[in-house]
Amino acid sequence: MTEELNPFVRFEQISKTYDGDTLVIEDLDLDIMRGEFLTLLGPSGSGKTTALMMLAGFESPTSGRILVEGRPIHHVPPYKREIGVVFQNYALFPHLTIAENLSFPLSVRRWPAADIKSAVDQALDMVQLGKMAGRKPNQLSGGQQQRVALARALIFQPRLVLMDEPLGALDKNLREEMQNEIRTLHGNLGINVVYVTHDQSEALTMSTRVAVFKGGTIQQLSSARDLYEYPANLFVANFIGENNSVQGKVMSTADGCCTVELDDGQLARGQSVSASAANGNNATLSVRPERIAINPPDDYDTLLQGTVTEVVYHGDHFRVTLRGSGSNTYQSKVANTGGQSDIEPGQPIRFGWRTSDCRCFMGDVGC
């Protein structure tokens, strides 16, 4: 058997409905590889948490099955799944001390007291909370509680750890610190992590792969880099990072490149994403603000004329709002390398992008 090549977790045709009518998750197929840090990213109500809870065993799929290491787990109750879960609000037991919280998973497994003690001490060291052992959870700061919740989910050495927006309640600095800690732990322990978040920067910096959820289906499953550079559709392009969406009509298609006529009659080019690009169709061009160059070199294949409507100083960059002669507006991020002070509102200007930096989706912005 080529066991090692099989995915660690496999969702097969999973659907979930609560009311028998609306599907929270629709025909979900998802493979999670061994040792992977997979993030489920999406707006609230997109089904990402439901998917996680089905894996943990707190929800059961309406149809389809979930396999862990090739074995279906729908008949395995949550307490036998050996999956660590870190909950959104930490779910530390308020009536138990930190040490008691950490020993809980071991004492329910009837470990000998001495083993429990050494494991708890080790876990406390791992999260640097040795001095807090005798405190109750509400005497700890949010970040400390987070660490305890993490240590508790890891202490019984599960091979799979699920995290449901674990950093949602922390402030920005603490969140970045914890992101690093979780990433380091994942690397050191060689465990599988499935991580749910609606914070895209968290998803991009931590994950091996990211699954973008919308309306119960996965829009795109790929590495963070591919997600940003090559979004599969307009939703992903808009959801991940900043994006300019520019509408127009397809004029011609050649070598995977679309030429699109904008509403002011100017021509722009982008990579064709769907095979169905036919002349005369509505199309939406998607280009990142930092890829729109002002006064670009002549080798840029999309060159447009427009006016500067606003310049906002952001320290390391300027944010320039541009308008073509029609109704399309463009956001451009211009790195502050010195000497850009000559861009002023009202000034006519030339701007553009490389075809490789622009994606051309069929249909309108709204879709």
């Binding site: 307490y79 999956i83 779910a91 809980f104 998973p105 329910v108």
Partner: protein
């Protein structure tokens, strides 16, 4: 300051309707000016007299005769007789009959007149009762409330066995309270759990059923229990009809301590369910999920995580049930019979039948002290647990 003004009307209202009447009633336990006000000169003359000296001097008799007439004219002679009779049976008729001789005129020595009319006026015991009753402040009611008595020589000892009823009733009341508390808590916990776990619409219905008894008059509810539990009631009829018990073996379910406990448990149930339910509602479902994800069997997760978190609710509900059942009055009066009578009933007896308000007040003080000390101990225990 502005905050105080907002609650000022309530404070004034409570002072007039709650604190003032209660304290003025409780004061009666130790403050009894009736005799001192009716016979100021007699009491004064008795001050230097000791029972060991025998019959008091003429000055006492003279003062007593004058003040007896004044008391008669004031119309308080009945109250005085009753008050003295409480300390020693026979005093009322003695005073009443004494009244008939005080009208004589031209008497120079009153002592022989009184003694001639009734030998008892010569006894030091008679005068010592008047002397003792003449002090405005007395501990005798409080002592009586806990079945103690102050003897002639000033030492305090237990009352004769046939007069000890209050302490026995106190213990019985505490035991009944304990039984009602235990039963209602045991019944309330699963009900509260079911409501907390039910869907919102089902929970609304269940809560309505729980609260239904508050919408009915307490008398109607108790009467319906009588219908159910009495000798020829529904429960006994059913048991006989199904052959569980024979016709002659009908169970005594009511008009005894069992009746008090059964109906009391029923009355306390909502008051225990509500606090337990409200605490359960606040326990996030993620705690149980976390416990099971950490490997605990659902039963173990419930016992080690959920149950300890409901303890504050159980504590609040159980102590409410206990304290309320200690002060329980209507139910034991109606369904308690002889063996189900509780402390409040004896207080009511002294207020309404024996008209010994001072003793009623003293008994109230005893039960108040017991409740407050139990509450304090419980409170401290809960606080220690939390810390």
């Amino acid at each position: 300051m502005r905050g105080f003004l907002l609650i000022a009307p309530l404070a004034v209202f409570l002072a007039f309707t709650f604190l003032a009447p209660i304290s003025s009633f409780l004061v009666r336990a130790v403050y009894d000016p009736l005799i001192a006000d009716a016979f100021p000169n007699t009491v004064d003359a008795l001050k230097s007299w000791k029972p060991s000296e025998g019959t008091p001097p003429e000055a006492v008799f003279r003062a007593f005769r004058d003040e007896l007439l004044i008391t008669r004219d004031r119309g308080t002679i009945g109250a005085v007789g009753q008050r003295l009779n409480r300390d020693a049976a026979g005093m009322r008729s003695l005073v009443q009959r004494g009244l008939s001789i005080t009208d004589q005129t031209g008497v120079t020595e009153w002592k022989p007149v009184f003694v001639g009319a009734n030998e008892q006026w010569a006894l030091p015991e008679t005068w010592s009762i008047i002397k003792n009753a003449g002090s405005r402040f007395t501990l005798s009611h409080l002592l009586q409330a806990v079945d103690l008595v102050k003897t002639e020589d000033g030492s305090i000892e237990l009352r004769p066995e046939d007069q000890r009823v209050n302490n026995y009733l106190l213990v019985r009341t505490l035991l009944v309270g304990l039984a009602i508390m235990t039963l209602s808590t045991l019944l309330a916990f699963p009900i509260a759990l079911a409501i907390a776990r039910a869907s919102p619409s089902a929970a609304r219905w269940m809560m309505t059923i729980v609260l239904l008894q508050f919408w009915t008059s307490v008398l109607a509810r108790i009467v319906s229990w009588i219908v159910l539990l009495q000798n020829r009631g529904v429960v006994n009829d059913l048991l006989v009809a199904t052959g569980v018990i024979a016709e002659q073996q009908r169970l005594a379910l009511i008009y005894n301590m069992l009746g008090t406990i059964l109906v009391g448990t029923y009355a306390m149930l909502p008051l225990v369910i509500l606090p337990i339910y409200s605490v359960m509602k606040l326990i996030p479902p993620s705690y149980l999920r976390a416990a099971t994800s950490l490997g605990a069997h659902p039963f173990e997760a419930f016992w080690r995580v959920y149950f300890p978190l409901t303890l504050p609710g159980i504590g609040a509900g159980a102590s409410t049930a206990f304290i309320l059942s200690i002060g329980y009055f209507v139910t034991p009066a109606l369904v308690g019979g002889q063996s189900g009578t509780l402390y409040s009933n004896i207080i009511a007896y002294h207020m309404q039948t024996s008209l010994n308000w001072a003793l009623a007040a003293a008994l109230s003080i005893v039960i108040l002290v017991v409740v407050i000390s139990l509450y304090t101990v419980l409170n401290r225990y809960m606080r220690d647990r939390k810390a």
